[in-house]
Symmetry: C2
Subunit: 194 residues, 2 copies
Amino acid sequence: MSDPANPQAAPGTLAELLVHVGRSARGDDGAPARLTDAQWTALRFFARAIRASRTPSAFASFQATTRGTASQTIKTLEARGLLERRRSESDGRSVRFEVTQAGRAMLEADPLRHLMAAIAHLPEADRAALARILPDLSAQIAGARGAAQVGTCGNCDHYEGRGGGGYCACVAQSLAPFEIGQLCTRFSPRAAAE
Amino acid sequence: MSDPANPQAAPGTLAELLVHVGRSARGDDGAPARLTDAQWTALRFFARAIRASRTPSAFASFQATTRGTASQTIKTLEARGLLERRRSESDGRSVRFEVTQAGRAMLEADPLRHLMAAIAHLPEADRAALARILPDLSAQIAGARGAAQVGTCGNCDHYEGRGGGGYCACVAQSLAPFEIGQLCTRFSPRAAAE
DNA sequence: CGATATGATTTCGACTCGAAACTATATGGT
DNA sequence: ACCATATAGTTTCGAGTCGAAATCATATCG
């Protein structure tokens, strides 16, 4: 399965390395008012998720954690003024969170920028390879664990392109162009979904 | 820098996706006596590190955390009988940990096996791409943060190949063939180290 | 209208994490 | 030999994560 002469390419080695890179990318480097891992992830999620997915439940699903834990994390971000709570008009149980101006400012210091920069410095072909490989791995893991998959609307089976935007059959809403790259936790992979 | 028509390949998107894959790979799937993230990482580290690096300090460096935190994590693994403590003969301050038989057995249920399987299913070319890209990203991040780099002895600048084994100039010891794929926290990248 | 499902929150105990204080052993300079 | 300093490891503290279970409120289905 793997070349014994090249243990660096063994699946186990690569898996550990991938986790290691992901983990070390989140480490902070001494910013003043820094956040925890979970808080950064939540802030990033709410900044990138489509409106229908900006809820505690959707974030819990994204993080593969419980709603209780997600609620805690969100609560501290709200207390810090980085997220703003809004009630849903259509469903009295549901709430929605928006990243505030302070939250946007905080994201400027996202520790992930180091990994972003490293990826930006990769040759174009390598970046393309990652863009092909990572969603595949994500899907396989989600499948193996029965977890919900996460993806962007533009790649979703519920999406139909229309002139200068699109339509999501899942939430029955049309999408603005800027929305087709946003995260959705009701994602269903298009096409090559076996 | 990134193709606006393909937001999936943007460095930010890829960075988040990489972290997401790394994170979800660590999630457990309901094994009975499961460990926490940090505990799995520690167990894996002590199973894969070269003898000289099987210490609390080396693990702390690997995890980019404090020695205090590392000490705690190790303590619980020791209490569970998964690691065994041994005093160093040469240095009265230092201790070394070995994975016990029970620890090896526990590693059979490592949640990372899902990611390993997913990587094993990748086409050979994609696996090779990861083997090229991930160490590069790891090194860039470590460099940008002034953190110690981690690597395997076979790729280390301190290593000289010799008949059927090798020699590490850093710890001044010869290495058995099985050791050249092990982790070392005194790693110094060979060759292309600018 | 009642049973049940769903969205969200709270509480609890075990654990992580960083920082700081602390113990013990090495090492270096005088 | 002696003292200062560095290093390896542990302990303690407070804030936070995490999963599980209990609790509320609102939807939805029969």
